[in-house]
């Protein structure tokens, strides 16, 4: 049988023969992940299962990224509970302090994910690693507790929607704009239970970081995974991040797809998702002149070095509007340090941005940039549900780093080309 990317990766991790979509297979997993919100519950399930050791101390990652540095007593208690578990079980990849960053930016950077891996995480944006060609997906806490104990779990083989992008991207149009555009086209349930597989000349030209931005938001279309073939760029990324032995991986020619979509993106504008669903997508021009109170540049979607470079390029020589708080959160300490070296942090500070530590922070309305009632934010994050960044009457508009930066300068939603 000719296999899609998703089928191929699952097949490599199971003894059962994959013969059709929707079949259920038992697979070994490469890495199991949980964060400061979900790990405590997963650990409770793990303990109830009577497990006393994790399946592999080098293949469990516990990343305390959501509320750290701990914002209050409750979050400190949660982290303490996980830290004690990590120490007791000898978990190698426990991150909390100066080595900690947003989980989905951190793990690829540490070389913990490679093409063909299966990663399960108690976090819905685990799908980010599809940008590297890994089958990575979010699950409930008991599932993740079980995977921590057994190193295996079950999957329903997803049907795949193949998405091809042709043509060429204009200036200031990025991976974020491509995924927002797609979600606008197929809707928040458009890929429910399915795998998305991205291809085409535009995708081939994208950097690995941009691919991760796209894969990150597969879940916003209801998808289980968002997959990219791994090519020379992927292998170079893996090598540069200390992951040796990565191999190129692609779907078999002639594999069977549930649906095939193709978009010519030539002439496409930067895209913005309006409240309160990621599918409410419009070209940036249509929202011009909508005032914003806050701009957030960061998160597992757009907090990587390329994103900071794009934002700094727009901000250089400009000042953030006196009406706007612009919060920049490099997603990992590695990215922070690189941005420091390149002078990007200085650019941000000269422009009047707040530069914070690597944390999820305001993305989920945790801390470091919460919105008051009636306030509006433009944000490079991935969800704009009601109240996601603070008050139930606040609003979040999702966009690329360049659009967020341009909007911070004018105080209005702005096409970066207009500055």
């Amino acid at each position: 049988m000719k296999l899609t990317m998703a089928q191929k990766i699952l097949q490599a991790h199971t003894d059962q023969e994959i013969t059709a979509a929707n079949q259920i297979v038992q697979c070994e997993v490469s890495l199991v992940l949980a964060n400061d919100i979900t790990a405590p519950l997963a650990i409770k399930s793990f303990t109830a299962m009577g497990a006393d050791a994790v399946f592999d101390r080098d293949r469990v990652a516990l990343v305390m990224d959501h509320f750290t540095p701990n914002k209050d007593i409750d979050s400190a208690e949660q982290v303490k509970f996980v830290r004690e578990f990590a120490r007791e079980k000898g978990v190698t990849h426990y991150y909390e302090g100066g080595d900690c960053g947003v989980e989905h930016a951190l793990l690829p950077e540490l070389g913990l994910v490679a093409p063909g891996d299966i990663v399960v995480g108690a976090d819905s944006h685990t799908c980010t690693y599809g940008g590297l060609g890994a089958f990575a997906t979010g699950m409930g806490s008991t599932d993740v507790g079980g995977a921590m104990a057994l190193g295996a779990t079950w999957f329903k083989v997803p049907p795949t929607i193949r998405v091809e992008f042709t043509g060429s991207l204009g200036e200031h149009v990025t991976g974020k704009d491509l995924i927002l555009f797609l979600i606008g086209q197929i809707g928040v349930a458009g890929a429910r239970y399915k795998a998305l597989e991205f291809c085409g000349p535009v995708v081939d030209r994208l950097s690995v970081e941009a691919r991760m931005t796209i894969a990150n938001m597969a879940i916003e279309a209801g998808g289980k995974v968002g997959l990219f073939a791994s090519d020379a760029k992927t292998l170079e990324y893996c090598r540069a991040h200390g992951r040796m032995g990565a191999v190129a991986l692609a779907a078999d020619p002639g594999a069977e797809y549930d649906r095939e979509l193709s978009f010519d993106v030539t002439g496409m504008s930067p895209q913005v998702a309006c409240p309160h669903l990621p599918e409410n997508v419009r070209p940036v021009e249509e929202l011009a002149d909508l005032a914003v109170d806050q701009a957030v540049i960061g998160s597992c979607t757009n907090g990587r070095i390329e994103d900071l470079r794009a934002a700094a390029a727009v901000l250089r020589g400009h000042k953030v509007s006196s009406r706007v708080r612009c919060v920049v959160l490099p997603a990992t300490p590695g990215i922070w340090k690189q941005a420091l070296k390149e002078g990007l942090l200085e650019t941000f500070m000269d422009a009047g941005c707040v530069v914070g530590p690597p944390t999820c922070g305001p993305c989920l309305g945790g801390h470091m940039g919460i919105l008051a009632g009636g306030e509006r934010a433009i944000s490079t994050t991935n969800r704009n549900f009601k109240g996601r960044m603070g008050s139930l009457s606040s609003e979040v508009y999702l966009a690329s780093p360049a659009v967020a930066a341009a909007s911070a300068v004018t105080g209005l939603i702005t096409h970066p080309g207009k500055l």
Binding site: N22, Q23, I24, Q26, S45, A48, M49, G50, A51, G138, M139, G140, S141, T142, D143, G145, G146, A149, L150, W154, K156, A189, R192, Y193, G222, K224
Partner: protein, 165 residues
């Protein structure tokens, strides 16, 4: 595994808040959760259900949050099997993990009506509608997932697996 019971039908896109509203999430006890099952859909809904009855649902059953309390509430209400047009992904996982049997039948869900007497053969993947005389075939539950169900869910399943190792 065979189950016989009366069908209770609900609509499309029944979310986890309908199955068990957030105000009842102060416990994980199946009995307590079961007593409030579907409280978010219709107050007192549970009174019509007898032990062993079958829930029949439309599209995307269990959408919404990843709360594992939803399948626990259904099991606690005495419902061993849910037949649906389709399930939301995380609910589908959580269902099996909590020991609830889920059968996806697509458009055939429309051939099952409220009050129909059903016999469900999980091994064969067959639903016999004694009221209409019709039979619906669906994919049988795969062997190792049946193992999870036989053990009563993922926690006891992993527990047994670890004990045997």
């Amino acid at each position: 595994m065979n189950y016989a019971g009366k069908a209770h039908k609900v609509g499309d896109h029944i979310d986890t808040d309908a199955i068990i509203p957030a105000r009842f999430l102060v416990t994980t006890d199946p009995g307590e959760l079961g007593a409030n099952c579907m409280e978010g859909l219709e107050p007192g809904w549970i009174k019509r259900v007898a032990q062993g009855d079958v829930l029949v649902a439309g599209e995307n059953f269990g959408c919404g949050s990843s709360r594992e309390h939803a399948p626990i509430a259904l099991k606690g209400a005495g419902i061993p099997v849910v037949i649906a047009h389709s399930f939301a992904r995380i609910f589908y996982r959580n269902g099996f993990n909590m020991g609830l049997i889920l059968l996806e039948v697509g458009d055939d869900a429309a051939r099952l009506h409220d009050g129909d007497e059903l016999v469900v053969d999980v091994d064969a993947g067959r639903i016999e509608n004694r009221t209409t005389g019709e039979t619906i075939d669906c994919a049988p539950v795969p062997p190792f997932m049946k193992e999870i169900l036989n053990k009563g869910g993922l926690v006891p399943y992993v527990k047994a697996k670890l004990a045997a190792a």
